[in-house]
């Protein structure tokens, strides 16, 4: 087992710039058109690979801003450069999270050629999407995002969508199921509009939010699996292996492990833990920057005063979670950025974000397991007791 850090996810900011202005955006520098140079990129990967801390399988997430405001040629040059530096035996996959508006045939070709993972931000049907995902002049972006999604489908590019749920989206999960199916979207992830950075969520202060989200997710899960056609519902399907795992499986949470996630800004500044910290400022930790790839080795960044202080406080927060939270075994210590935004510090425990992203899915799965138990007891089986198997065949088809 390696004794040093293990970098499993590298989040790169090719540019802070975004071509739209969503109402719930937490990114502070989305008007900044700076670009990560190839020199910064080369230095970043030379540092990472030279450290010996890269995980055997590493994900590189290009997450801006809007990463596709840079042209396909930029990424082709970047991917080829990284490939030349990649140590033999290290598996590496690129991924982008995009608003989809700039996708064209050239992008689809690049995604396929380099097997890039693609996530598209889509908040549902037009009325929901265009409430928050707006151009800088205030116009809706639904049509252009859907045009991008349809191109991905035409070109056979695998993708998922991330849907931010706001107060208007939570009451009608069946309509979202219908919409995704009608557009051939079969891998979905939900984020509830949250408070991060300068953005204060309109939902987080609602006292019944946990119950509302639970009803939404339960309704979506049931309807989607009944209808079939969905390959992946992240909130449930990513939680299942955390819950239904053997006692031998070790729980780890990259987001609370120093260098588990390494985040690099376009100028080479580096942070760790939650990627959202890059760009924020705080009295206790300054700008969360632990070094710059042009100046510092990863070892020096790892031992920097800011990193040590953050690591100590994050670890204290994990211990608080371990000590006080019933759900610790499926979480591993929460998300530092949410602890900071909601509770004021890394050393804290439970957040509203935890309730929604971890506790609600866990509760739904545990409740479903309990209700299913009698149906698989042959001695108590009713005539319809095997009905629960039916959707499996449909879903697996």
């Amino acid at each position: 087992m390696p004794t040093g850090p293990l970098i499993e996810t590298l989040v790169l900011q090719p540019t802070p710039f975004c071509n739209i202005a969503c109402t719930y955006c937490y990114l502070p520098h989305r008007n900044d058109r700076a670009t990560m140079s190839m020199d910064t990129l080369r230095t970043t990967f030379e540092r990472v690979f030279a450290s010996g801390w890269a995980a055997p399988a590493m994900t590189v997430i290009w997450h801006a801003g809007e990463p596709l405001v840079l042209p396909p040629a930029y990424y082709r040059e970047a991917f080829d450069l990284i490939e030349r530096l990649r140590p033999a035996g290290l598996r590496l996959r690129h991924a982008v999270q995009t608003n989809g508006m700039l996708i064209d045939a050239a992008w689809c070709g690049l995604f396929k050629e380099y097997d890039v993972g693609v996530g598209v931000s889509l908040d549902g049907p037009r009325a929901l999407h265009d409430t928050h995902r707006l151009t800088r002049s205030g116009r809706g972006t639904f049509d252009r995002t859907m045009a991008g999604i349809r191109l991905l489908r035409e070109h056979g590019v695998d993708f998922h969508v991330i849907t931010v749920l706001s107060k208007d989206s939570l009451d009608d999960p069946a309509s979202l199921v219908d919409f995704y199916l009608s557009e051939g979207i079969d891998q979905v992830c939900f984020n509830v509009e949250e408070s991060e950075g300068d953005h204060r969520s309109s939902l987080f202060d609602q006292s019944d939010l946990r119950r509302r989200f639970s009803r939404f997710l339960d309704g979506f899960w049931r309807t989607a699996r009944q209808r079939g056609g969905f390959r992946f519902i992240r909130e449930i399907d990513a939680m299942l292996p955390r819950i239904l795992r053997p006692a031998e499986a070790v729980m780890a949470n990259e987001q609370v492990v120093p260098f588990g996630m390494l985040n690099v800004a376009c100028n080479g500044d580096v942070s760790s833990f939650s990627p959202e910290l890059l760009g924020l400022k705080n009295a206790a930790y300054g700008d969360f920057i632990i070094g710059n790839v042009h100046r510092d080795t990863l070892a020096a960044m790892h031992e920097s005063a800011v990193m040590r202080r953050m690591a100590q406080d994050v670890a204290q927060g994990v211990e608080e979670c371990r000590r006080t939270c019933e759900y610790f075994s499926v979480c591993g210590g929460g998300a530092p950025v949410n602890k900071l935004s909601e509770n004021g510090g890394f050393t804290s425990g439970r957040t509203r974000f935890c309730e929604l992203t971890l506790m609600v899915p866990t509760d739904l799965i545990l409740d479903a397991l309990e209700r299913l138990d009698p149906l698989v007891d042959p001695a108590r089986a009713a005539p319809s007791a095997t009905d629960w198997r039916a959707p499996c065949h449909d879903a697996a088809a």
Partner: protein
Amino acid sequence: MSSTRFTLRALAALLPLGAMGVSAALAAAPEPPAAAEADPAARTGVAERLQAIREAVSEVTAEQANLEPGDPNILKAWWGNGGWRNGGWRNGGWGNGGWHNWGNGWPNWHNFWRNW
């Protein structure tokens, strides 16, 4: 019969269905009566239930793979290591546990940073 035995029986039936099958089967569980909806903040015993499930998954996986309890190969035989885009198990550990800006599942994908 203890809840652990219930869980064992349910898991023995569920786990061979694979990840999507488990998701579909659980989604088809009977809905609770509306009046039975628990106060989410009042839940207790969650940690114990989760621990019981993990012990049961170990037992069921060992049995279905013809392994002795405690065999280190139980982890390899477990359905979560079967290649489904399950959200990040690899090398015996769980993914990043919570980044919500990314969302999918190469074995080193879907790392639960939730903005991807």
